[in-house]
Symmetry: C2
Subunit: 205 residues, 2 copies
């Protein structure tokens, strides 16, 4: 009878594609997205992972390291996409649409990471904080340059390009609400609606 209360030592559940660290980073993304970085404790995270808080330190250096991995992982993906798009031989409005589609796809399929990267970066430790801020600024400048090219060749309305970038990026951030909805349209329909409104709002008729 007493034997039923004896429990073996916990183990972080991994599969052949993930290391223990990757499992922890993934759980951290969900937790940080839900509670915010500062409000999420290592004891919360340990519980989500299925071990005690102290055990996490066998696999990670610090709580901040988790945030760093999330933020810079996302930043790198976005930068690579921008590198690609910039070199493509297509019109400016097509480039904008391709980037919008990429952003939507990231928000739909990698929601937790993208959300955390977008909302919690201010808790990064320097010098990574400044570095990250510079990367964000650079990304936006490059996006604005694409829009400027479109304005120049009359594809896009004559608007302030940095304003257009902030509108697009934040509008796509609204997918957060889509994730939160119980009754919602499909991801494909969502994408179509967003393209209709956002690209439609940019196009010069």
């Amino acid at each position: 009878m007493l034997v039923y209360y004896l429990r073996s030592m916990a183990r972080i559940k991994i599969d052949k594609n993930s290391s223990r660290k990757e499992v922890i980073v993934t759980k951290a993304a969900a937790l940080f997205r839900e509670k915010g970085f500062k409000a999420a404790s290592m004891r919360d995270l340990a519980e989500a992972v299925g071990v005690e808080a102290a055990s996490l330190y066998n696999h990670i250096k610090s709580k901040t390291e988790l945030l760093h991995e999330l933020c810079f992982g996302v930043a790198n993906r976005f930068m690579h996409k921008m590198d690609e798009v910039e070199t493509e031989k297509i019109s400016a409005i097509e480039k904008v649409e391709e980037l919008i589609r990429f952003h939507i796809d990231e928000m739909v399929h990698h929601y937790e990471e993208v959300y955390v990267s977008d909302r919690e970066w201010k808790h990064l430790a320097d010098p990574y904080l400044s570095n990250f801020q510079n990367q964000r600024r650079m990304y936006r400048k490059r996006f604005a340059a694409i829009i400027e090219a479109g304005i120049k060749n009359k594809e896009i309305k004559n608007i302030d390009a940095p304003t257009a970038v902030l509108i697009l990026l934040h509008a796509i951030g609204g997918i957060e609400s889509w994730h939160r909805s119980t009754q919602k349209i499909s991801a494909e329909a969502l994408t179509q609606n967003m393209i209709t409104i956002l690209v439609g709002g940019l196009k010069n008729k």
Copy 2:
């Protein structure tokens, strides 16, 4: 000589329009916006106000009360605006434009409060948390209903109204980046750009 190091007891600076509590709430908005609710400490806030942390409790009940005042203050303002707009005898697209202008104005002139209300509500204590979430949901439903009316009478493109609402609200949230910019266009130009893109993206041509 020694007299120079003797300092009188601090006093919260107030003017004839503000109580001590109002000063504290205003400083709290700025601090919570900058650092996030959880990362902002009462000692940080006390420093911003110019007294010791313990003194704040002569004027407020708790840290959470500050967040509550900010969130519900903003929510009430937005609800009143919606009450007004719903009863106006104007077209649906005009109503949408009026609401967008109101939102932009709030984000430009009451940035800290609106930002905190939009980003930090998850740290509200229950039952206020659920109450606030319901109010947000209600507001969005009412906004979507205006857009549905516009879709029905062909002013607005045939799109998913809740998606349109999330796009509009989050796009306006992008004014955060405008506040952060060192070189930026005027608030009037910003407003015009946003109307051009957002209303332009909704209008059925």
